[in-house]
């Protein structure tokens, strides 16, 4: 394996492996196991699935400078439409899945259309869309929860680790093919790096933006579907930005994923970022950390990683000085420096 390949592998796996090692050590020191229940694997893959999908949905618009607050509202409304339709028509999970995903795509596309037609700030646009979608959810259900706790057909989907693995695999495959191997993806990247040149070359900017929003809608509708199937009900009565919190769970995995993505692929980076944050959540549960401690830990880790990203060059230079003083050895830059030709999303991932 060449030096470049070694760097890629090391850079890709360094953070996830470090997280696993630290967490296992922490749990062992406290006499508990990181995977302490029979459902631990299910919790892991389900957490990775929902976190990865949310991070993907957030990042594909954020990379283009479009901050989207409406992710949670899309997840809620699409799952409300899917569940309500299924319960009213007496359908099963396949119907719920199809209707939910189709609704998510349409909701995302509508959100994109509003943005391109009104030409207002995407952040402001997404705030309005959030209120709109929350209002529609409330109107459909009258504020009540959509409940199907005793419908095994609808709740069994999220209880199967295999289903979650299929979701992860399908999302990775679709996102890779769409954004890395299709004309749409080429135009998408071109519009990020050089909008004027891409448009001049024939890229359809508005179509690309609306399509990206539609993809985001599909991703979030999948999140809504998993959460609805997992809980057996949907809280449809949240108003006044009550659904906004969902997107904040994706920040840390998105930033970790963006860093890892420099060494391999950004989609793989998002998967590994989601893996890291889900493992951290499992560890906090195993350690019986209170909800306050969990919140503080998540906040601390996010801020710490942002500080690292913002000062990465200084840290790298300091590491080089340290290793040179030590008389050689592997420097951080040589083991983790960006390999030749790696796609960097550093700028795009910084809000």
């Amino acid at each position: 394996m060449g030096t470049n390949s070694m760097r890629r592998v090391t850079g890709t796996l360094f953070i996830p492996v470090a997280v696993v090692v630290v967490l296992i050590a922490l749990c062992s020191a406290n006499g508990v196991s990181l995977f302490n229940t029979g459902d631990s694997f299910l919790l892991l893959v389900r957490g990775v699935a929902t976190t990865m999908l949310t991070a993907m949905a957030l990042s594909i618009n954020l990379n283009s400078g479009r901050f989207d607050f409406s992710l949670g509202a899309m997840a809620t409304l699409s799952s409300v439409i899917g569940a309500t339709t299924t319960l009213n028509l007496g359908g099963g999970f396949p119907m719920m899945a199809i209707v939910t995903l189709a609704s998510g795509m349409l909701l995302g596309a509508f959100s994109g259309l509003v943005y391109v037609l009104l030409r207002i700030s995407p952040m402001v646009c997404s705030l309005g869309i959030t209120l709109l979608y929350e209002g529609i959810s409330f109107t459909i259900t009258g504020g009540a929860n959509v409940s199907f706790l005793l419908e095994d057909d609808l709740t069994s989907f999220a209880k199967s680790p295999i289903n979650m693995i299929y979701v992860i695999g399908a999302a990775l495959a679709v996102m890779y093919l769409l954004f890395d191997r299709s004309r749409f993806g080429f135009e998408y990247r071109g519009l990020i790096t050089g909008q004027a040149a891409s448009v001049a070359a024939g890229a359809k900017e508005k179509v690309n933006a609306v399509s990206t929003y539609a993809v985001s809608g599909v991703l979030m509708s999948m999140v809504g579907l998993i959460l609805a199937s997992q809980m057996g009900y949907i809280e449809a009565g949240k108003l006044n930005f009550g659904t906004i919190g969902v997107m904040f769970t994706a920040f840390l995995p998105m930033f970790i994923g963006g860093y890892i993505g420099r060494f391999s692929n950004d989609k793989l980076g998002l998967l590994l970022g989601a893996l890291c944050t889900t493992l951290i959540a499992l560890a906090m549960s195993a350690l019986n950390a209170t909800s306050t401690v969990q919140s503080l830990t998540n906040a601390f880790l996010l801020v710490a990683f942002l500080i690292f990203l913002s000062n990465e060059d200084r840290i790298t230079r300091a590491w080089r000085r340290f290793t040179r003083r030590g008389g050689g050895g592997t420097s951080l830059s040589s083991s983790l420096g960006e390999p030749d030709g790696a796609t960097s999303l550093r700028g795009a991932n910084t809000p």
Binding site: D39, L43, L132, G135, N145, L227, G232, A281
Partner: protein, 402 residues
């Protein structure tokens, strides 16, 4: 036709505003039975607007009461904290509400003070005022009073529920603490009651304590329940979950851990089936809950998941409405010494499907037990405090339905 930016913006704003307003509750003029004069505008503060219990209470007020009395109701949005309550109160005062009925408890003292300053009436539904606050405001003519489960009744509810499962032979328990981390008094008192019941067994303590007061103090100090602090040779506290962080992986892992610990019963301070229903499907774990009589909980009991429910019935807030309207109409019902009301109401307890079905059928928003006929004698009349207190105290199913 080319759609201009202005047109698109205007249409989007109109659609969005219409849907948002349609989604929010709004008061409509009542087609009341009395038909005399403008309807009395009553405003309602809520901290929970989406649970089945909250929707049932709202349906009773907006569907039944509004149709049978000369009143209209305006509801607040879901209020998360004291600032939100203050903003909602300001809105109510500015919109000429004659009275505020409060289900929101982040800062009741502030709410009462604002009502007093604005010269409007204020009452507390399904709750109670802490003793020090009651002493502070009991003489205020604006403060009508509180009718609902007192903290002692909350303690008793938790105690009785735990006792039920102990007498059923269960020994392994998990607890759902609900809003304990947010210092919701009723949840804290319910869980303290549960632990007190278990601590009646000689070898059982929580934090080294056996008495309710000491256990309560420890929970208030910790702001949570610590499984490691539970000690017993007979019982096991196999797990504990609090709050409702459904989107959080760590919370989900905690939930799974509780279910995986295979307790005989999960003792829930509230919303137990909503939280655990999907997770315990296919297991033999039972849930004991202090919640409300809803169709969903009925299905849970039919499925065997819910074994015990201490619930507020839908029209439980009838008497506080009657007291509030009577005050607005110039006939306030005052306790001894011209003080505000502080009356207790408790729960209906069902441990079987038949009981649950009977309770659910007996009290609905369309046909409540506290109907117009039962409330009218106390509205705008010379009914005495003793008569009203007697009326309120007869809240059990046997008293109201027979």
């Amino acid at each position: 036709m080319k759609i201009s930016k202005k047109v698109a913006l205007g249409v989007s704003a109109a659609v969005g505003l219409s849907l948002a307003l349609a989604g929010c509750s709004s008061s409509t003029p009542s087609a009341s039975g009395d038909g005399g004069g403008d309807p009395v505008k009553m405003c309602v503060l809520v901290s929970d607007a989406t649970s089945s219990e909250a929707l049932g209470f709202k349906a009773y007020y907006t569907d039944y009461i509004q149709s049978n009395f000369n009143v209209t109701f305006t509801y607040s949005d879901e209020l998360a904290d004291a600032n939100a309550e203050k903003t909602a109160m300001e809105g109510f005062i500015a919109n000429n509400c004659k009275a505020v009925i409060s289900f929101a408890s982040a800062d009741r003292g502030q709410q009462i003070q604002m009502a007093e300053d604005a010269g409007i009436f204020y009452s507390v539904a399904t709750g109670t005022l802490p003793e020090d606050q009651y002493e502070e405001f009991k003489d205020s003519p604006s403060y009508i009073g509180a009718i609902g489960p007192s903290l002692d009744i909350e303690r008793q509810a938790g105690y009785d529920m735990a006792k039920y499962f102990v007498e059923e032979g269960d020994t392994t328990f998990a607890i759902f603490g609900g809003g304990i981390p947010y210092y919701i008094d009723m949840h804290i008192h319910r869980v303290a009651g549960m632990l007190t019941a278990l601590a009646e067994e000689p070898s059982t303590t929580y934090g080294g304590q056996k008495e309710f007061g000491a256990i309560l103090g420890k929970i208030m100090q910790d702001g949570t329940i610590k499984v490691a602090d539970f000690s017993s040779d007979v019982y096991e506290l196999s797990g504990y979950v609090e709050a409702w962080n459904f989107g959080d992986s760590a919370w989900q892992a905690n939930l799974a851990g509780v279910v995986a610990s295979q307790p005989d019963a999960i003792l829930a301070a509230g919303t137990g089936f909503a939280v655990f229903g999907a997770a315990i499907a296919g297991t033999d774990i039972k849930i004991g809950d202090i919640d409300a009589y809803t169709e969903e909980n009925k299905k849970a009991m039919e499925a065997g998941s819910l074994a015990y429910l201490a619930g507020k019935f839908t029209s439980i807030n009838g008497p506080i409405f009657a007291a509030t309207l009577s005050a607005v109409e110039g006939s306030p019902i005052r306790a001894e010494g011209d003080t505000a009301l502080a009356l207790e109401q408790g729960y209906w307890v069902a441990t079987s499907v038949d009981q649950f079905t009977e309770y659910l059928a007996a009290d609905t928003a369309e046909n409540p037990v506290y109907d117009k006929e039962s409330l009218e004698p106390f509205i705008g009349t010379d009914a005495s405090y003793d008569e009203f207190a007697q009326f309120v105290s007869q809240y059990t199913f046997e008293d109201l339905v027979g």
